[in-house]
Amino acid sequence: MTRSRQTADWGSRAGLAKIIPSSVAVGSGTGSADSLGNVTFSGASSVSLNGVFSSNYDYYKMTIDAKTASGSASISARLRTGGTDATAGNYNRQWLNAGGTSVSASNSVNATSWDIFVYTVDATVSYATNIEIANVAKALPTTAVLTHTRFYDSSIAFNGLAFGHTLSTAYDGITLITSASTISGTVRVYGYTQ
């Protein structure tokens, strides 16, 4: 095998593959997914991506940009399979916040969803974040890590969250839910090629 051939093989197998969901569901408003897997939504009380996780990948990256229609809200996430959210109290979360020289933390276990934006989102700032998700489509507990940069009061803070879902269940989708108002934005899901 020549070097150029090896490079081509590595190129085809390396990196991230953006995944087109099999369908999208919103609790209100509108949504759509283009042929590249960009899921956009507007006026949504929730947005669900069905058929994005499978045994094709062990690890996933999910990027989220969202802001509310008005006022502040928090956004939570639930795993789902077959078009139905997993709503039982199996969601654990550890949160770490660092702003300036202040560091704070909190822990939540046996909740019915993951708080992915512990600090509230609002209508003026689009809160962008990404989540790394492991083993979600396997019959294993799901883990995830989120890192998030928070701008506020002309300052900046770091938010890091670790998530666990305790059931050894395979899930094929995820739902984002706003606690108040509605949200607009874009979600993308990528699989780490293997």
Partner: protein, 70 residues
């Protein structure tokens, strides 16, 4: 009881899009979650303001306080 999904797929969507309206129980749960988080946020701010007031009472200047109030 979940409501029947309604097909609202826009013309430019590559996949089907459904409207799955939340149940009354789900709406109530979100409202409770929102109120709990607002209360927690208020509590955090109250604790922070109290701590800063105590520090000010100890004689810290505004400049010194500003370095702590991030």
């Amino acid at each position: 009881m979940p409501k029947e999904p309604i097909d609202i797929t826009p013309a430019d969507s590559a996949v089907p899009v459904f409207l799955e309206e939340p149940t009354d129980a789900e709406i109530a749960e979100r409202q409770a979650q929102h109120e709990a988080q607002e209360e927690a946020k208020t509590a955090r701010e109250t604790v922070r303001e109290s701590a800063l007031a105590k520090l000010a009472a100890l004689g810290l200047t505004e400049e010194e306080l500003a370095t702590l109030s991030v």
